[in-house]
Protein backbone atom coordinates (compact mmCIF):
# COMPACT_ATOMS: atom_id res chain seq x y z
CA UNK A 1 0.00 0.00 0.00
CA UNK A 2 1.45 3.36 -1.02
CA UNK A 3 0.77 6.08 1.53
CA UNK A 4 1.38 9.81 1.45
CA UNK A 5 3.57 11.00 4.31
CA UNK A 6 3.43 14.68 3.46
CA UNK A 7 1.91 16.66 0.64
CA UNK A 8 2.60 20.31 -0.12
CA UNK A 9 1.43 22.34 -3.11
CA UNK A 10 4.08 23.84 -5.40
CA UNK A 11 3.42 27.22 -7.02
CA UNK A 12 2.30 25.97 -10.45
CA UNK A 13 -0.18 23.09 -10.45
CA UNK A 14 1.94 20.41 -8.80
CA UNK A 15 1.89 18.66 -5.45
CA UNK A 16 5.15 17.73 -3.74
CA UNK A 17 4.56 14.41 -2.05
CA UNK A 18 6.82 12.22 0.03
CA UNK A 19 5.34 8.73 -0.11
CA UNK A 20 6.06 5.44 1.50
CA UNK A 21 5.19 1.89 0.64
CA UNK A 22 3.84 -0.11 3.57
CA UNK A 23 3.96 -3.89 3.79
CA UNK A 24 2.25 -5.72 6.62
CA UNK A 25 0.38 -9.01 7.07
CA UNK A 26 -3.36 -9.03 6.42
CA UNK A 27 -4.06 -9.42 10.11
CA UNK A 28 -2.05 -6.26 10.84
CA UNK A 29 0.96 -8.15 12.14
CA UNK A 30 2.72 -8.00 15.46
CA UNK A 31 3.23 -4.24 15.55
CA UNK A 32 7.00 -4.41 15.05
CA UNK A 33 8.20 -2.00 12.37
CA UNK A 34 11.29 -1.33 10.28
CA UNK A 35 11.62 1.79 8.12
CA UNK A 36 13.99 1.90 5.16
CA UNK A 37 14.67 5.46 4.09
CA UNK A 38 16.68 6.66 1.09
CA UNK A 39 17.03 9.49 -1.39
CA UNK A 40 17.57 12.34 1.07
CA UNK A 41 20.37 13.29 -1.28
CA UNK A 42 18.87 13.34 -4.74
CA UNK A 43 22.08 12.21 -6.43
CA UNK A 44 22.53 9.07 -4.28
CA UNK A 45 20.65 6.22 -5.88
CA UNK A 46 22.06 2.96 -4.49
CA UNK A 47 19.11 2.73 -2.07
CA UNK A 48 16.68 2.54 -5.01
CA UNK A 49 17.78 -0.98 -5.82
CA UNK A 50 17.69 -1.98 -2.16
CA UNK A 51 14.09 -0.78 -1.76
CA UNK A 52 13.13 -2.60 -4.95
CA UNK A 53 14.70 -5.85 -3.77
CA UNK A 54 13.17 -5.68 -0.31
CA UNK A 55 9.72 -5.06 -1.79
CA UNK A 56 10.21 -7.83 -4.33
CA UNK A 57 11.17 -10.44 -1.73
CA UNK A 58 8.23 -9.54 0.49
CA UNK A 59 5.92 -9.87 -2.52
CA UNK A 60 7.39 -13.32 -3.24
CA UNK A 61 6.97 -14.58 0.35
CA UNK A 62 4.15 -12.63 1.99
CA UNK A 63 3.65 -15.51 4.44
CA UNK A 64 7.02 -14.75 6.03
CA UNK A 65 6.09 -11.22 7.03
CA UNK A 66 5.27 -10.86 10.74
CA UNK A 67 5.46 -7.12 11.24
CA UNK A 68 5.49 -3.88 9.24
CA UNK A 69 8.02 -2.79 6.63
CA UNK A 70 7.87 0.85 5.51
CA UNK A 71 9.91 1.79 2.44
CA UNK A 72 10.60 5.48 1.73
CA UNK A 73 12.50 5.39 -1.56
CA UNK A 74 12.32 9.12 -2.28
CA UNK A 75 12.72 11.42 0.70
CA UNK A 76 13.72 14.22 -1.68
CA UNK A 77 11.57 13.51 -4.76
CA UNK A 78 12.30 16.85 -6.47
CA UNK A 79 16.03 16.27 -6.02
CA UNK A 80 15.98 12.73 -7.41
CA UNK A 81 13.91 13.81 -10.36
CA UNK A 82 16.16 16.74 -11.25
CA UNK A 83 19.56 15.14 -10.52
CA UNK A 84 20.04 17.56 -7.65
CA UNK A 85 21.70 16.60 -4.38
CA UNK A 86 19.88 19.11 -2.20
CA UNK A 87 16.34 20.40 -2.27
CA UNK A 88 16.04 22.17 -5.63
CA UNK A 89 15.09 25.81 -5.44
CA UNK A 90 16.55 26.13 -1.97
CA UNK A 91 20.13 24.97 -2.60
CA UNK A 92 19.74 23.33 0.77
CA UNK A 93 20.97 19.95 1.99
CA UNK A 94 17.85 18.15 3.21
CA UNK A 95 20.01 16.27 5.71
CA UNK A 96 20.69 19.56 7.49
CA UNK A 97 17.01 20.38 8.06
CA UNK A 98 16.06 17.85 10.76
CA UNK A 99 14.18 17.63 13.06
CA UNK A 100 12.42 20.49 11.27
CA UNK A 101 9.45 22.32 12.71
CA UNK A 102 5.81 22.64 11.86
CA UNK A 103 5.95 26.41 11.92
CA UNK A 104 9.34 26.63 10.19
CA UNK A 105 10.04 27.05 6.49
CA UNK A 106 8.68 24.80 3.76
CA UNK A 107 11.69 22.49 4.08
CA UNK A 108 11.46 22.34 7.86
CA UNK A 109 7.81 21.42 7.53
CA UNK A 110 8.70 18.49 5.27
CA UNK A 111 11.37 17.36 7.72
CA UNK A 112 9.02 17.54 10.69
CA UNK A 113 6.33 15.46 8.95
CA UNK A 114 8.86 12.80 8.00
CA UNK A 115 10.24 12.58 11.53
CA UNK A 116 6.72 12.30 12.92
CA UNK A 117 5.98 9.47 10.52
CA UNK A 118 9.14 7.52 11.41
CA UNK A 119 8.55 7.70 15.15
CA UNK A 120 7.43 4.32 16.40
CA UNK A 121 9.77 2.32 14.17
CA UNK A 122 11.82 -0.33 15.97
CA UNK A 123 14.63 0.32 13.52
CA UNK A 124 15.27 2.88 10.82
CA UNK A 125 17.90 2.56 8.13
CA UNK A 126 18.93 5.62 6.11
CA UNK A 127 20.72 4.50 2.94
CA UNK A 128 23.20 6.88 1.29
CA UNK A 129 25.62 6.47 -1.59
CA UNK A 130 28.47 8.77 -0.59
CA UNK A 131 28.30 11.40 -3.35
CA UNK A 132 29.21 11.62 -7.03
CA UNK A 133 32.92 11.93 -6.18
CA UNK A 134 33.68 8.93 -3.97
CA UNK A 135 32.95 5.21 -3.93
CA UNK A 136 32.56 3.55 -0.55
CA UNK A 137 32.58 -0.09 0.56
CA UNK A 138 29.26 -0.86 2.30
CA UNK A 139 29.56 0.70 5.71
CA UNK A 140 27.56 2.05 8.60
CA UNK A 141 28.50 5.33 10.23
CA UNK A 142 27.64 5.89 13.86
CA UNK A 143 27.89 9.00 15.98
CA UNK A 144 29.75 8.04 19.17
CA UNK A 145 26.86 9.49 21.20
CA UNK A 146 24.71 6.55 20.04
CA UNK A 147 27.32 3.81 19.82
CA UNK A 148 26.03 1.59 22.59
CA UNK A 149 22.64 1.16 21.05
CA UNK A 150 23.71 1.14 17.41
CA UNK A 151 26.93 -0.86 17.16
CA UNK A 152 25.24 -4.19 18.07
CA UNK A 153 22.62 -3.55 15.36
CA UNK A 154 25.23 -2.49 12.80
CA UNK A 155 27.11 -5.75 13.42
CA UNK A 156 24.06 -7.63 12.06
CA UNK A 157 23.60 -5.52 8.91
CA UNK A 158 25.97 -7.46 6.62
CA UNK A 159 28.21 -4.48 5.91
CA UNK A 160 32.00 -4.54 5.61
CA UNK A 161 32.76 -1.72 7.96
CA UNK A 162 31.31 0.06 10.98
CA UNK A 163 32.77 3.50 11.52
CA UNK A 164 32.11 5.16 14.86
CA UNK A 165 32.97 8.82 14.48
CA UNK A 166 33.23 11.73 16.87
CA UNK A 167 30.28 13.92 17.76
CA UNK A 168 29.99 17.00 15.59
CA UNK A 169 27.56 19.83 16.23
CA UNK A 170 26.85 20.35 12.55
CA UNK A 171 25.64 16.75 12.25
CA UNK A 172 22.94 17.41 14.83
CA UNK A 173 20.64 18.43 11.99
CA UNK A 174 20.74 15.05 10.21
CA UNK A 175 17.80 12.68 10.06
CA UNK A 176 19.79 10.00 11.89
CA UNK A 177 20.73 12.27 14.77
CA UNK A 178 17.15 13.46 15.17
CA UNK A 179 15.71 9.95 15.09
CA UNK A 180 18.33 8.53 17.46
CA UNK A 181 17.69 11.42 19.85
CA UNK A 182 13.99 10.55 19.74
CA UNK A 183 14.80 6.95 20.66
CA UNK A 184 14.37 5.40 17.19
CA UNK A 185 17.58 3.46 16.50
CA UNK A 186 18.72 4.71 13.09
CA UNK A 187 21.62 3.32 11.09
CA UNK A 188 23.26 5.39 8.37
CA UNK A 189 24.52 3.24 5.51
CA UNK A 190 27.01 4.63 3.00
CA UNK A 191 27.79 2.42 0.03
CA UNK A 192 28.74 2.63 -3.61
CA UNK A 193 28.84 5.92 -5.46
CA UNK A 194 26.44 8.70 -6.42
CA UNK A 195 24.42 8.53 -9.66
CA UNK A 196 25.04 4.81 -10.10
CA UNK A 197 23.64 1.46 -8.94
CA UNK A 198 25.86 -1.37 -7.70
CA UNK A 199 24.07 -4.70 -7.88
CA UNK A 200 26.46 -6.53 -5.54
CA UNK A 201 26.06 -3.92 -2.80
CA UNK A 202 22.29 -3.87 -3.12
CA UNK A 203 22.31 -7.67 -2.76
CA UNK A 204 24.59 -7.50 0.25
CA UNK A 205 22.55 -4.89 2.10
CA UNK A 206 19.26 -6.58 1.22
CA UNK A 207 20.52 -9.72 2.96
CA UNK A 208 21.51 -7.61 5.95
CA UNK A 209 18.07 -6.01 6.11
CA UNK A 210 16.28 -9.38 6.07
CA UNK A 211 18.66 -10.68 8.71
CA UNK A 212 17.89 -7.68 10.94
CA UNK A 213 14.19 -8.11 10.23
CA UNK A 214 14.54 -11.68 11.46
CA UNK A 215 16.19 -10.45 14.65
CA UNK A 216 13.39 -7.94 15.16
CA UNK A 217 10.67 -10.61 14.56
CA UNK A 218 9.43 -8.78 11.48
CA UNK A 219 10.41 -11.62 9.13
CA UNK A 220 10.61 -15.36 9.64
CA UNK A 221 13.07 -17.27 7.56
CA UNK A 222 16.02 -19.55 7.90
CA UNK A 223 18.90 -17.78 9.56
CA UNK A 224 20.66 -15.57 7.01
CA UNK A 225 24.42 -15.54 7.50
CA UNK A 226 25.99 -12.07 7.68
CA UNK A 227 29.57 -10.83 7.54
CA UNK A 228 31.34 -9.62 10.61
CA UNK A 229 32.33 -6.05 9.81
CA UNK A 230 35.54 -4.31 10.77
CA UNK A 231 34.78 -1.79 13.50
CA UNK A 232 36.75 1.39 13.93
CA UNK A 233 36.10 3.94 16.62
CA UNK A 234 39.50 5.56 16.87
CA UNK A 235 39.74 8.56 14.55
CA UNK A 236 43.50 8.09 14.31
CA UNK A 237 42.84 4.73 12.56
CA UNK A 238 41.71 6.49 9.39
CA UNK A 239 44.14 8.08 6.93
CA UNK A 240 42.75 10.73 4.57
CA UNK A 241 44.50 11.25 1.25
CA UNK A 242 43.59 14.65 -0.15
CA UNK A 243 44.74 15.89 -3.53
CA UNK A 244 47.90 17.96 -3.00
CA UNK A 245 47.40 19.74 -6.34
CA UNK A 246 44.59 20.46 -8.78
CA UNK A 247 44.42 18.22 -11.85
CA UNK A 248 42.86 15.04 -13.21
CA UNK A 249 42.75 12.16 -10.76
CA UNK A 250 43.01 8.58 -11.93
CA UNK A 251 42.58 5.81 -9.39
CA UNK A 252 45.10 2.96 -9.41
CA UNK A 253 43.44 0.82 -6.74
CA UNK A 254 39.86 -0.16 -6.10
CA UNK A 255 37.89 0.30 -2.92
CA UNK A 256 38.06 -2.75 -0.69
CA UNK A 257 41.68 -3.55 -1.63
CA UNK A 258 44.39 -4.21 0.92
CA UNK A 259 47.31 -1.85 0.54
CA UNK A 260 50.95 -2.14 1.41
CA UNK A 261 52.87 0.92 2.49
CA UNK A 262 54.03 2.75 -0.63
CA UNK A 263 51.38 1.29 -2.95
CA UNK A 264 50.21 3.80 -5.52
CA UNK A 265 46.55 4.57 -4.78
CA UNK A 266 46.08 7.07 -7.60
CA UNK A 267 47.79 9.70 -9.67
CA UNK A 268 47.03 13.31 -10.59
CA UNK A 269 47.61 13.98 -14.25
CA UNK A 270 48.25 17.03 -16.38
CA UNK A 271 46.68 16.46 -19.81
CA UNK A 272 48.55 19.44 -21.31
CA UNK A 273 51.98 18.04 -20.68
CA UNK A 274 51.53 14.31 -20.41
CA UNK A 275 53.19 14.46 -17.02
CA UNK A 276 52.09 13.07 -13.71
CA UNK A 277 51.77 15.96 -11.28
CA UNK A 278 51.56 13.84 -8.13
CA UNK A 279 51.44 10.21 -7.12
CA UNK A 280 49.31 9.42 -4.10
CA UNK A 281 50.71 6.49 -2.14
CA UNK A 282 49.65 4.62 0.97
CA UNK A 283 51.61 6.05 3.90
CA UNK A 284 51.27 2.70 5.67
CA UNK A 285 49.64 -0.71 5.31
CA UNK A 286 45.88 -0.56 5.36
CA UNK A 287 42.51 -1.16 3.79
CA UNK A 288 41.20 1.17 1.10
CA UNK A 289 37.56 1.75 1.98
CA UNK A 290 36.98 4.98 0.03
CA UNK A 291 38.34 5.88 -3.39
CA UNK A 292 37.68 8.85 -5.63
CA UNK A 293 35.71 8.18 -8.81
CA UNK A 294 35.25 11.70 -10.09
CA UNK A 295 38.38 12.67 -11.99
CA UNK A 296 38.54 16.44 -11.57
CA UNK A 297 40.26 17.47 -8.34
CA UNK A 298 41.01 20.80 -6.71
CA UNK A 299 43.80 21.06 -4.23
CA UNK A 300 42.25 19.51 -1.11
CA UNK A 301 39.70 17.27 -2.83
CA UNK A 302 39.41 13.95 -1.02
CA UNK A 303 41.01 11.14 -3.04
CA UNK A 304 40.98 8.17 -0.68
CA UNK A 305 40.45 6.96 2.86
CA UNK A 306 42.50 4.13 4.29
CA UNK A 307 41.87 2.21 7.49
CA UNK A 308 45.22 1.41 9.11
CA UNK A 309 45.96 -2.25 9.67
CA UNK A 310 46.14 -3.25 13.29
CA UNK A 311 47.68 -6.32 14.90
CA UNK A 312 44.42 -8.18 15.47
CA UNK A 313 43.09 -7.66 11.97
CA UNK A 314 44.47 -8.73 8.62
Amino acid sequence: MIMTVVSVPLPVDEQLEIRKSRFCPDNGGNGRRISIVTGIHGDELEGQLVCFQVAKRINEHPDRLLGTVDLYPAMNPLGIDSITRGIPGFDLDMNRTFPGGSDGSFTEYLAARVVEDLVGSDLCMDIHASNIYLTEVPQIRINELHREKLVPLAMEANVDFVWVHGANTVLESTLAHSMNSLGVPTLVVEMGVGMRLTQAYADQLTEGIFHLMGRLHIWKDEEIAVKTPIVSSDSSDVIYLNAPVSGIFMKRKNHGEQLKKGDEVGVILNPYTGRILKRLTAPEDGWLFTIREYPVVDEGSLAARILKNKGERQ
Partner: protein, 309 residues
Protein backbone atom coordinates in the same frame (compact mmCIF):
# COMPACT_ATOMS: atom_id res chain seq x y z
CA UNK B 1 46.96 50.85 1.38
CA UNK B 2 48.63 47.65 0.39
CA UNK B 3 46.98 45.03 -1.80
CA UNK B 4 48.02 41.59 -0.65
CA UNK B 5 47.46 38.07 -1.85
CA UNK B 6 46.10 36.29 1.23
CA UNK B 7 45.38 32.85 -0.13
CA UNK B 8 45.69 31.09 -3.45
CA UNK B 9 45.03 27.70 -5.01
CA UNK B 10 46.61 26.95 -8.37
CA UNK B 11 44.13 25.48 -10.81
CA UNK B 12 44.76 23.26 -13.83
CA UNK B 13 42.44 24.97 -16.32
CA UNK B 14 41.04 28.10 -14.69
CA UNK B 15 43.07 31.03 -13.49
CA UNK B 16 44.37 30.52 -9.96
CA UNK B 17 41.91 30.99 -7.13
CA UNK B 18 42.96 34.15 -5.29
CA UNK B 19 41.79 35.90 -2.16
CA UNK B 20 43.01 39.49 -2.12
CA UNK B 21 43.14 41.71 0.92
CA UNK B 22 43.55 45.47 1.24
CA UNK B 23 45.55 46.49 4.25
CA UNK B 24 45.48 49.98 5.74
CA UNK B 25 47.88 51.17 8.43
CA UNK B 26 49.92 48.86 10.62
CA UNK B 27 50.34 47.96 14.25
CA UNK B 28 47.46 46.92 16.41
CA UNK B 29 45.12 44.63 14.46
CA UNK B 30 42.01 46.70 14.95
CA UNK B 31 39.48 45.65 12.32
CA UNK B 32 38.94 43.07 9.60
CA UNK B 33 36.05 43.37 7.12
CA UNK B 34 34.96 40.45 4.92
CA UNK B 35 32.68 40.86 1.92
CA UNK B 36 31.15 38.05 -0.10
CA UNK B 37 31.67 34.37 0.64
CA UNK B 38 29.01 33.09 -1.74
CA UNK B 39 28.79 33.62 -5.46
CA UNK B 40 25.48 35.49 -5.32
CA UNK B 41 26.55 38.03 -2.71
CA UNK B 42 26.83 40.89 -5.19
CA UNK B 43 25.70 43.59 -2.82
CA UNK B 44 28.26 42.37 -0.30
CA UNK B 45 31.22 42.56 -2.68
CA UNK B 46 29.97 45.90 -3.96
CA UNK B 47 29.69 47.37 -0.47
CA UNK B 48 33.08 46.02 0.51
CA UNK B 49 34.80 47.37 -2.59
CA UNK B 50 33.17 50.77 -1.98
CA UNK B 51 34.53 50.61 1.56
CA UNK B 52 38.03 50.04 0.17
CA UNK B 53 37.62 53.08 -2.07
CA UNK B 54 36.42 55.17 0.85
CA UNK B 55 39.23 54.09 3.16
CA UNK B 56 41.78 54.82 0.42
CA UNK B 57 40.45 58.34 0.23
CA UNK B 58 40.48 58.78 4.01
CA UNK B 59 44.01 57.42 4.13
CA UNK B 60 45.05 59.93 1.48
CA UNK B 61 43.57 62.70 3.61
CA UNK B 62 45.54 61.45 6.61
CA UNK B 63 42.41 60.57 8.56
CA UNK B 64 43.29 56.96 9.45
CA UNK B 65 45.32 56.33 12.61
CA UNK B 66 48.74 55.03 11.56
CA UNK B 67 49.12 52.62 14.48
CA UNK B 68 45.90 50.75 13.77
CA UNK B 69 45.65 48.10 11.10
CA UNK B 70 42.52 47.50 9.06
CA UNK B 71 42.21 44.59 6.62
CA UNK B 72 39.39 44.50 4.05
CA UNK B 73 38.69 41.36 1.98
CA UNK B 74 35.98 42.02 -0.61
CA UNK B 75 35.64 38.38 -1.70
CA UNK B 76 36.55 35.01 -0.24
CA UNK B 77 35.13 33.32 -3.29
CA UNK B 78 35.76 34.89 -6.71
CA UNK B 79 35.66 31.42 -8.33
CA UNK B 80 31.94 31.01 -7.63
CA UNK B 81 30.93 34.59 -8.39
CA UNK B 82 32.65 34.53 -11.77
CA UNK B 83 30.47 31.63 -12.87
CA UNK B 84 27.29 32.83 -11.11
CA UNK B 85 27.19 29.85 -8.81
CA UNK B 86 26.32 30.31 -5.16
CA UNK B 87 28.60 27.69 -3.63
CA UNK B 88 32.01 26.20 -4.39
CA UNK B 89 32.30 25.33 -8.11
CA UNK B 90 33.26 21.67 -7.88
CA UNK B 91 31.60 20.28 -4.75
CA UNK B 92 28.88 22.88 -4.00
CA UNK B 93 30.12 23.37 -0.43
CA UNK B 94 29.59 26.64 1.44
CA UNK B 95 32.74 28.35 2.73
CA UNK B 96 30.68 29.92 5.50
CA UNK B 97 29.94 26.45 6.88
CA UNK B 98 33.63 25.50 7.11
CA UNK B 99 35.08 27.68 9.85
CA UNK B 100 37.48 27.52 11.61
CA UNK B 101 38.62 25.33 8.71
CA UNK B 102 41.15 22.55 8.43
CA UNK B 103 44.36 23.09 6.51
CA UNK B 104 44.72 19.40 5.56
CA UNK B 105 41.05 18.90 4.73
CA UNK B 106 38.85 19.43 1.69
CA UNK B 107 39.25 22.47 -0.56
CA UNK B 108 36.79 24.80 1.15
CA UNK B 109 38.00 23.68 4.59
CA UNK B 110 41.49 24.70 3.46
CA UNK B 111 40.25 28.06 2.20
CA UNK B 112 38.46 28.70 5.51
CA UNK B 113 41.55 27.67 7.49
CA UNK B 114 43.92 29.68 5.32
CA UNK B 115 41.85 32.81 5.67
CA UNK B 116 40.89 32.35 9.30
CA UNK B 117 44.55 32.02 10.26
CA UNK B 118 45.09 35.54 8.93
CA UNK B 119 41.96 37.20 10.30
CA UNK B 120 41.44 35.58 13.68
CA UNK B 121 43.63 37.94 15.68
CA UNK B 122 41.75 41.15 14.91
CA UNK B 123 40.03 42.90 17.75
CA UNK B 124 36.92 43.47 15.64
CA UNK B 125 35.52 41.52 12.71
CA UNK B 126 32.74 42.56 10.34
CA UNK B 127 31.14 40.40 7.69
CA UNK B 128 28.65 41.51 5.06
CA UNK B 129 26.28 38.59 5.28
CA UNK B 130 23.33 37.20 3.38
CA UNK B 131 20.31 35.28 4.56
CA UNK B 132 19.56 31.74 3.37
CA UNK B 133 16.08 32.77 2.29
CA UNK B 134 15.62 35.22 -0.60
CA UNK B 135 14.41 38.49 0.74
CA UNK B 136 15.10 42.02 1.80
CA UNK B 137 16.08 43.10 5.28
CA UNK B 138 15.93 46.23 7.23
CA UNK B 139 19.63 47.14 7.60
CA UNK B 140 20.99 45.79 10.87
CA UNK B 141 23.88 44.42 12.84
CA UNK B 142 23.50 40.79 13.73
CA UNK B 143 25.48 38.78 16.20
CA UNK B 144 25.34 35.26 17.52
CA UNK B 145 24.28 34.96 21.09
CA UNK B 146 27.26 32.77 21.93
CA UNK B 147 27.99 34.29 25.30
CA UNK B 148 30.87 36.30 23.86
CA UNK B 149 28.82 38.90 21.99
CA UNK B 150 29.50 42.54 22.68
CA UNK B 151 26.18 44.37 22.32
CA UNK B 152 27.52 47.71 23.48
CA UNK B 153 29.98 47.82 20.61
CA UNK B 154 27.29 46.76 18.14
CA UNK B 155 25.36 49.92 18.99
CA UNK B 156 28.29 52.00 17.74
CA UNK B 157 27.43 51.34 14.10
CA UNK B 158 24.40 53.52 14.59
CA UNK B 159 22.29 51.22 12.41
CA UNK B 160 18.63 51.10 13.41
CA UNK B 161 18.69 47.54 14.77
CA UNK B 162 20.94 45.09 16.58
CA UNK B 163 19.69 41.50 16.31
CA UNK B 164 20.89 38.72 18.55
CA UNK B 165 20.63 35.31 16.97
CA UNK B 166 20.27 32.17 19.04
CA UNK B 167 22.77 29.82 17.31
CA UNK B 168 21.52 26.70 15.55
CA UNK B 169 23.81 23.69 15.09
CA UNK B 170 25.02 24.79 11.64
CA UNK B 171 25.85 28.28 12.91
CA UNK B 172 28.83 26.87 14.79
CA UNK B 173 30.73 26.54 11.49
CA UNK B 174 30.21 30.15 10.40
CA UNK B 175 32.84 32.87 10.39
CA UNK B 176 30.87 35.06 12.80
CA UNK B 177 30.57 32.33 15.42
CA UNK B 178 34.22 31.31 15.21
CA UNK B 179 35.44 34.88 15.34
CA UNK B 180 33.58 35.21 18.63
CA UNK B 181 35.03 31.97 19.97
CA UNK B 182 38.51 33.31 19.12
CA UNK B 183 37.67 36.49 21.04
CA UNK B 184 37.13 38.83 18.11
CA UNK B 185 34.12 41.12 18.46
CA UNK B 186 32.18 39.80 15.50
CA UNK B 187 29.38 41.59 13.68
CA UNK B 188 27.38 40.54 10.64
CA UNK B 189 26.02 43.47 8.71
CA UNK B 190 22.86 42.98 6.70
CA UNK B 191 21.83 45.48 4.08
CA UNK B 192 18.60 45.33 2.18
CA UNK B 193 19.75 43.30 -0.82
CA UNK B 194 21.94 40.38 -1.90
CA UNK B 195 21.34 39.58 -5.56
CA UNK B 196 21.06 43.18 -6.75
CA UNK B 197 23.08 46.31 -6.11
CA UNK B 198 21.43 48.75 -3.72
CA UNK B 199 23.45 51.93 -3.63
CA UNK B 200 21.63 53.49 -0.71
CA UNK B 201 21.90 50.43 1.46
CA UNK B 202 25.63 50.12 0.70
CA UNK B 203 26.19 53.74 1.71
CA UNK B 204 24.28 53.21 4.93
CA UNK B 205 26.44 50.23 5.92
CA UNK B 206 29.67 52.03 5.01
CA UNK B 207 28.64 55.03 7.11
CA UNK B 208 27.92 52.58 9.92
CA UNK B 209 31.38 51.07 9.66
CA UNK B 210 33.03 54.50 9.65
CA UNK B 211 31.06 55.44 12.75
CA UNK B 212 32.21 52.22 14.37
CA UNK B 213 35.81 52.93 13.36
CA UNK B 214 35.57 56.40 14.85
CA UNK B 215 34.31 55.00 18.14
CA UNK B 216 37.17 52.50 18.15
CA UNK B 217 39.73 55.24 17.57
CA UNK B 218 40.69 53.95 14.13
CA UNK B 219 39.57 57.19 12.49
CA UNK B 220 41.10 60.42 13.63
CA UNK B 221 37.87 62.38 13.41
CA UNK B 222 34.42 61.72 14.68
CA UNK B 223 31.61 61.14 12.24
CA UNK B 224 28.59 63.39 12.47
CA UNK B 225 26.09 61.48 14.62
CA UNK B 226 23.44 64.04 15.32
CA UNK B 227 20.45 62.59 13.49
CA UNK B 228 20.96 59.02 14.75
CA UNK B 229 18.60 57.49 17.22
CA UNK B 230 19.55 54.77 19.65
CA UNK B 231 19.45 51.32 17.93
CA UNK B 232 16.86 48.85 19.04
CA UNK B 233 18.32 45.56 20.33
CA UNK B 234 16.29 42.36 20.16
CA UNK B 235 16.65 38.60 19.62
CA UNK B 236 15.54 37.06 16.34
CA UNK B 237 12.87 35.10 18.21
CA UNK B 238 11.01 38.31 18.94
CA UNK B 239 10.21 38.78 15.25
CA UNK B 240 6.65 37.89 14.25
CA UNK B 241 6.62 35.63 11.20
CA UNK B 242 3.83 35.92 8.66
CA UNK B 243 3.58 32.63 6.79
CA UNK B 244 2.05 31.63 3.52
CA UNK B 245 -0.46 28.79 3.65
CA UNK B 246 -0.52 28.23 -0.09
CA UNK B 247 1.90 28.29 -3.00
CA UNK B 248 1.59 30.49 -6.05
CA UNK B 249 2.53 33.86 -7.49
CA UNK B 250 3.55 36.27 -4.76
CA UNK B 251 2.43 39.90 -4.95
CA UNK B 252 4.07 41.98 -2.27
CA UNK B 253 2.19 45.04 -1.04
CA UNK B 254 4.50 46.04 1.80
CA UNK B 255 8.07 47.29 1.80
CA UNK B 256 10.91 46.69 4.17
CA UNK B 257 11.02 49.37 6.91
CA UNK B 258 7.38 50.22 6.33
CA UNK B 259 5.26 50.74 9.42
CA UNK B 260 2.11 48.62 9.24
CA UNK B 261 -1.01 48.29 11.33
CA UNK B 262 -2.60 45.17 12.68
CA UNK B 263 -4.94 43.74 10.05
CA UNK B 264 -3.29 45.60 7.17
CA UNK B 265 -2.87 43.50 4.05
CA UNK B 266 0.80 42.79 3.34
CA UNK B 267 0.65 40.56 0.28
CA UNK B 268 -1.52 38.29 -1.75
CA UNK B 269 -0.89 34.97 -3.43
CA UNK B 270 -2.38 34.30 -6.85
CA UNK B 271 -3.36 31.07 -8.51
CA UNK B 272 -0.80 30.53 -11.27
CA UNK B 273 -3.42 29.25 -13.72
CA UNK B 274 -6.44 31.48 -13.26
CA UNK B 275 -4.90 34.56 -11.71
CA UNK B 276 -7.32 34.71 -8.83
CA UNK B 277 -6.31 35.61 -5.29
CA UNK B 278 -6.01 32.42 -3.28
CA UNK B 279 -4.66 33.93 -0.10
CA UNK B 280 -4.27 37.34 1.51
CA UNK B 281 -1.65 37.89 4.15
CA UNK B 282 -2.28 40.37 6.94
CA UNK B 283 -0.16 41.95 9.65
CA UNK B 284 -0.79 40.10 12.94
CA UNK B 285 0.15 43.21 14.94
CA UNK B 286 1.25 46.80 14.58
CA UNK B 287 4.91 46.94 13.70
CA UNK B 288 7.67 47.51 11.19
CA UNK B 289 8.40 45.18 8.26
CA UNK B 290 11.85 43.85 9.11
CA UNK B 291 12.11 41.17 6.42
CA UNK B 292 10.16 40.66 3.21
CA UNK B 293 10.21 37.77 0.73
CA UNK B 294 11.45 38.97 -2.66
CA UNK B 295 10.78 36.23 -5.18
CA UNK B 296 8.01 36.08 -7.75
CA UNK B 297 6.86 32.66 -6.56
CA UNK B 298 6.21 31.46 -3.05
CA UNK B 299 5.94 28.04 -1.45
CA UNK B 300 3.46 27.17 1.23
CA UNK B 301 4.74 27.39 4.82
CA UNK B 302 7.26 30.11 4.04
CA UNK B 303 7.91 32.99 6.40
CA UNK B 304 7.34 35.73 3.83
CA UNK B 305 7.43 38.61 6.31
CA UNK B 306 9.00 39.18 9.66
CA UNK B 307 7.56 42.02 11.67
CA UNK B 308 9.04 43.84 14.57
CA UNK B 309 6.15 44.70 16.84
Amino acid sequence: MKKELLYTIPSLYRDDFRIQGYRFGHGKKALCVVGSMRGNEYQQIYTCSQLVARLKKLEGEGLLKEDREVLVIPSLNPSSMNIEKRFWPTDNSDINRMFPGYSLGETTQRIAAGVFEQIKDYENGIQFASFYMPGQFSPHVRMMKSGYENVEKARKFGLPYVVLRIPKPYDTATLNYNWQIWETNAFSLYGSATDVIDEKSARQLIEGILRFMASEGILKEDIENSELSEPRVFTDRELLAVRSKTSGIFINLAEVNQRVEKGQQLACILDAGEGEVTERLYAPADGVVFFAHSKPLVYANTAVFKLLA
